[in-house]
Symmetry: C2
Subunit: 526 residues, 2 copies
């Protein structure tokens, strides 16, 4: 007989329908929802809320919310609420296509945040009050403590900060999740912050359950609905080539004594390139690896099965349907090798720098100096958001960015003269990899970086135009205009701000012309 | 009778002339020098080295070095070596005008780094070996331990990493510096890193002296030369207005309960605006303040004298000649209220985030979305470098950037449609202040930020053109071209990458035209 999911009798009295729970949420309020990369988001209340919003709008009544989450959620949350025009302000991350269109049409405000900073900023108070938390759980224990679901995200903070709490208990989630979570209750606002006592990816520093004042719980809704698990595209030739370059780099770093033989804790974004890299590690020589990352994706499960990955720490799962089935069927085998933590901890700069993560993230475009745009297509259209990439790239032991060298069938070059939007500054981009090759940019000046990026990473179709841009930027800059060194007195005069220089040669009148051309003609090619 | 500065008899045998010491440095080698913001840099050996390089060059022999420091130094180091064309590669920061010109003429490679990352990256090994350290001290103790000078910077790391060590013992430095330093020896490479046990700005976690293997010390040079102390320009009307806006903000935050009455540890850049802000705090209501910052400048000494600043932690002094004289005359009164640490610790992300610093930094330009350029004039010409601004801005409790709204007599607007180079991404720029006003950008979407920045921070002469650019960027973006929502199916199709969007509306063909106009005409005005 299956165990009851709500073991606390007192709280069982608060069970109601999703529709009844949705009525407790008022227009204009801020709602903190669970959910991270399509895992552990509430699946019934947001749908009921969207239906209610539709009715209110049909009756001519305004009804919009401020929606905070861990990161992305699923169509039953972001999709449904956006379709009903029910979100006036969204943070900290979105990947839902309906919400994305609303944002890019200027119909929804979106504050795209460093994922490590959401919880502390909520505590700082300037995001405004949090009215209601809506949190998916996998169960409630007899003492009223809450068993987290397939993501932790900002749930601890939403439960602590919200005036009222609505819980969804999802029977679909595997009961073996219990005990996998590590909820750290030691955070504080300054001046009361102390060191976070985590020194290895497998350290447990908290509790397996959320605490929550039962008097704040106004509704509990029972659900039985799957997480949004999307299939991954199988790795293509480009992904395989990128993985190959990266494995060669790891080999080289281990040989040079700059990385231990088991590497350092891996952080990996999601997607088919990330999975190809993880897949390639299965056949690599690195044993006893660990991961300290945001999400546990298919490739990490495979690495564990292969005995290569000792354990993984994350804040959520992000699995394909097949991998989710496999994990659910064998949860007992994996559960002691996985830890799910609040995203404030999984992405904490203190911990990423201490552990020395090897960070691997994707991008939209990089420029010849290695500044990376992760978010804005053509500089203005948000794709998803910066997510945790800034938390990891700034603090990693080595910060790697990976991309195919072109997109849209070759009409977009991923390497451009100047990034149309910057999420990761050159100092935070240490290794750049495309299917063409790998540029190890560590310790190089901007001009040295440019020459390497053009030679190693750009697609051959775009390489001549990039080299030509760079050559002309160098030629027309100040140094070439004044070939003889003037007297020393000049040097000590105030910098001649009228001139431009050769630290990072550029042509402002042309630097973004590739993007303009794409917008006008549909291709960056001339 | 003044105490001998070199109390270790064994090491006294290694005293020699600067010329003899300079002969120990070979062409092509990497030299790690002391020095941070013109404090505590070696003053004799670099000059002797420059003279030697001049002779070698006159004889047709190549002689160039890789020069690593803490941050900026003085004319006897960067100026002299650059003038002799003796630096082929420089890290991590420069503000010397001769070196700046060499860099901007493309004659010297310059790797502009986050100051917290210099020491760990040197340990990681990819910067190459460090051949020689040249370190200024204020004395050597009988046991051979080294008394630091007026800056700590990367000296611990250079002493540990270098194959050979040359010391300069500078009699000009106040002997009362002894005991003021806190050299933390607990750093390591991952996987052996542990929490840094500092929880208050006044915690001492290390030793007052450097350790150094005496067998590595190949030369000691005695000097008696002042640090490069430059007078500050007195605060002008703009600086006063900026300080006024900022104090009003602090008042408001304390009233709202978002900052304690003694604020949080201050980080402040140098310069007349920073000094104006610190000066204004003298007359403010905030008591018992602390500073956890890079440098102790005039304004902090004044705040201490006024009894408002309880203590300051930094890695160096950066004082005017007048303030240096005043401090030297009263060192006993101040020394227990100041701590100088390695820059790895003064700028450590772990500690900045834990302490919750209030970060106040200058900039060259900010764009309408609040991305900040701190380094590259017109996108290509390096001014100084990013220094520690990224360490602080990313991790601060509140990250403030300050600037007059125009430069060059109004010919340059500090607020532009798009930053020509990005050092601080929008997420790391939370408050922007000019003499026109203060924009509190926390918790806002890009469009909300743009409207506030144009209204509050831009100069009235440029405000209409900025508003016009922003209006047109919104009008011509995707959303306006397709006013009716297409069917839901479209939403779930792959994002239409051909379109651009309204998350951060921009016109790539025009976004950098203000810079191009300035380069061509000498003004951003039309």
């Amino acid at each position: 007989m299956p165990k009851k999911r709500i073991e606390c009798e007192k709280l069982r009295a608060k069970v109601m329908s999703a529709e009844a729970a949705a009525k407790l949420i008022t227009s204009g309020s801020a709602v903190g929802m669970s959910g991270f990369t399509g895992s552990g988001y509430p699946k019934a209340v947001p749908l009921a809320l969207a239906a209610r919003i539709d009715k209110e709008h049909a009756a001519g009544n305004p009804f919009r919310l401020r929606v905070w989450t861990g990161a992305s959620t699923g169509p039953e949350l972001d999709g449904a609420l956006a379709r009903s025009d029910g979100i006036e302000f969204r943070l900290p991350y979105n990947s839902d296509p309906i919400a994305r269109e609303k944002i890019n049409r200027g119909e929804m405000e979106y504050f795209d945040m460093h994922l490590s900073q959401v919880a502390p900023m909520a505590w700082q108070g300037f995001l405004g009050p949090l009215d209601t938390a809506v949190i998916e759980l996998s169960g409630i224990r007899p003492d009223g403590s809450l068993i987290p679901s397939s993501s932790v995200g900002n749930n601890k903070t939403w439960l602590d900060r919200a005036s009222r709490v609505i819980l969804e208990v999802n029977r679909w989630q595997n009961p073996a999740l219990e005990g996998m979570h590590d909820i750290y209750y030691g955070t504080a606002l300054p001046p009361d912050r102390v060191p976070i006592p985590l020194v290895h990816p497998d350290d447990r520093i908290g509790e397996p359950y959320f605490r929550c004042d039962p008097d704040k719980i106004v509704a509990i809704v029972e659900t039985d609905a799957p997480d949004r698990n999307l299939p991954f595209a199988p790795p293509d030739q480009n992904a395989g080539a990128i993985a190959g370059h990266l494995l060669e780099f790891f080999h080289h770093e281990v040989a040079k004594g700059r990385l231990p033989a088991s590497l350092l804790p891996l952080q990996s974004g999601v997607g088919n390139i990330a999975n190809a890299v993880l897949g390639a590690l299965i056949d690599g020589p690195f044993e006893n690896m660990t991961a300290y990352t945001e999400v546990i994706q298919d490739g990490m499960i495979d690495l564990m099965k292969a005995g290569k990955l000792r354990m993984a720490s994350a804040t959520a799962f992000s699995l394909s349907p097949e991998a989710a089935r496999g994990l659910n069927a064998n949860m007992e085998q994996f559960r002691d090798r996985m830890i799910l933590r609040p995203q404030e901890i999984s992405n904490h700069p203190e911990l990423i720098r201490r552990l020395g993560c090897v960070a691997m993230n994707g991008l939209i475009e990089a420029d010849i100096y290695g500044a990376v745009n992760s978010t804005h297509i053509m500089g203005s259209r948000i794709h998803n958001g910066i997510g945790g990439s800034g938390d990891f790239a700034r603090n990693a032991y080595v910060s790697i960015f990976m991309t195919p060298s072109t997109a849209k069938g070759g009409k977009i070059s991923a390497i451009v003269p100047q990034a149309s939007h910057v999420d990761h500054i050159t100092q935070d981009v240490q290794v750049l990899v495309t299917e063409q090759g790998l540029a190890d940019l560590r310790g190089l000046s901007p001009k040295q970086r440019a020459e390497l990026i053009i030679a190693k990473c750009a697609h051959p179709d775009y390489r001549p135009a990039l080299a030509d841009y760079y050559r002309r930027a160098r030629q027309t800059s100040y140094g070439q205009q004044s070939p003889s060194l003037p007297g020393e007195a000049l040097y000590y005069r105030r910098a001649r701000q009228t001139s431009y220089g050769q630290q990072s040669p550029s042509l402002p009148g042309e630097a973004l012309s590739w993007h303009q051309r794409f917008i006008e003609t549909g291709t960056m090619r001339i």
